[in-house]
């Protein structure tokens, strides 16, 4: 228990050190969540649009094929 307290206290600077690590975790995690959510949303909308336009599927297939042909 004593060792844990000393670890949290960090020689009296625990407040600054843990706040810095918490800020880092918060910024990095929030950026990740927002980015992942926007990917999910835009890919979802794209899939929805594809379903509404059945004629587009074939067109997309052709472009994918031409892209492969060029590779």
């Amino acid at each position: 228990m004593d060792a844990l307290n000393r670890f949290i206290d960090m020689g009296g600077y625990g407040g600054f050190i843990w706040a810095a690590y918490a800020a880092a975790a918060l910024v990095l995690i929030l950026l990740w969540l927002f980015s992942w959510r926007s990917l999910r949303r835009s890919e979802g909308e794209l899939a929805q649009l594809d379903r509404r336009l059945p004629g587009r599927k074939g067109g997309q297939g052709r472009t994918a094929e031409t892209a492969r042909g060029q590779a």
Binding site: A19, A20, A24
Partner: protein
């Protein structure tokens, strides 16, 4: 390299890279945090507060590296009309703003116990604050026009012009008197830093870099999907 400049192919490549770079990011953070918080000694001058360096310095490095990515993407969009250039700049800019904010916040939390102040208007801190505003300006310009292409062009010009700030940040600690300590790690000569402190710093820097690559892959895919949606909707409107 040009093979991957095709947006559709790049999206597939990005999707394939993401799980691997995400796993690498997790591993590097696990090792880096263990070294930074537990397995490294306190500094002989700064005591335990040196541990703030392990989240502060990599954030500051990344804030400049990401700006280079934004500026390079913008330049390739301006000069060669490269479709991926704008997408990469748009995807990277908010991440760079996040790293810069983090460098400022953690720097402030380090400055208070070591310098006795949260903030000073000296060259290093002010030039990094300018970098943060450059990012915000870039993001604002991207969204300032109804025509996305015009916004991208205006933002790209700002990003390229803003490059001038990077050497100012880098050399600010040498050119002006400042509270900020000079660089401990330089290419010339052995780093003026103990290996026990250098190790966690480098692992954390690698973790930040892997995190950025992972996030960039996710964000580029999202931006590509948005661009495709925009094109599809325009085509739909034209047809009806």
């Amino acid at each position: 390299m040009h093979r991957f400049a095709n947006p559709a192919r790049f999206a597939r490549l990005a999707a394939a890279i993401t799980p691997w770079s995400a796993a690498l990011t997790g591993l590097l953070f696990a090792v880096g945090l263990t070294l930074a918080l537990i397995a490294s000694p306190p500094d002989y001058q700064q005591g335990e507060t040196v541990r703030i360096m392990y989240v502060h310095v990599p954030a500051a490095w990344m804030s400049m590296l990401v700006y280079l990515v934004v500026a390079a993407g913008s330049a390739s969009a301006l000069v060669w009309r490269h479709p991926l250039g704008d997408i990469v700049a748009r995807a990277a800019s908010p991440v760079g703003a996040g790293f810069t904010l983090l460098a400022l916040l953690t720097g402030s939390l380090w400055g208070k116990p070591m310098w006795g102040t949260w903030w000073v208007w000296d060259a290093r801190l002010t030039s990094v604050l300018v970098l943060f505003f450059l990012y915000l300006g870039h993001i604002a310009l991207l969204h300032a026009f109804d025509d996305a292409a015009r916004g991208a062009r205006a933002a790209a010009i700002l990003a390229v012009a803003g490059i001038i700030n990077l050497p100012i940040i880098k050399f600010s600690v040498d050119w002006w008197n400042t509270l900020h300590q000079p660089a401990s790690i330089s290419r010339l000569g052995w780093p003026a830093i103990d290996p026990a402190i250098l190790r966690p710093l480098l692992v954390m820097a690698a973790a930040y870099l892997a995190y950025f690559i992972t996030l960039l892959m996710v964000r580029v895919r999202a931006e590509l999907a948005v661009a495709k949606l925009r094109g599809l909707r325009a085509a739909l409107l034209a047809r009806s």
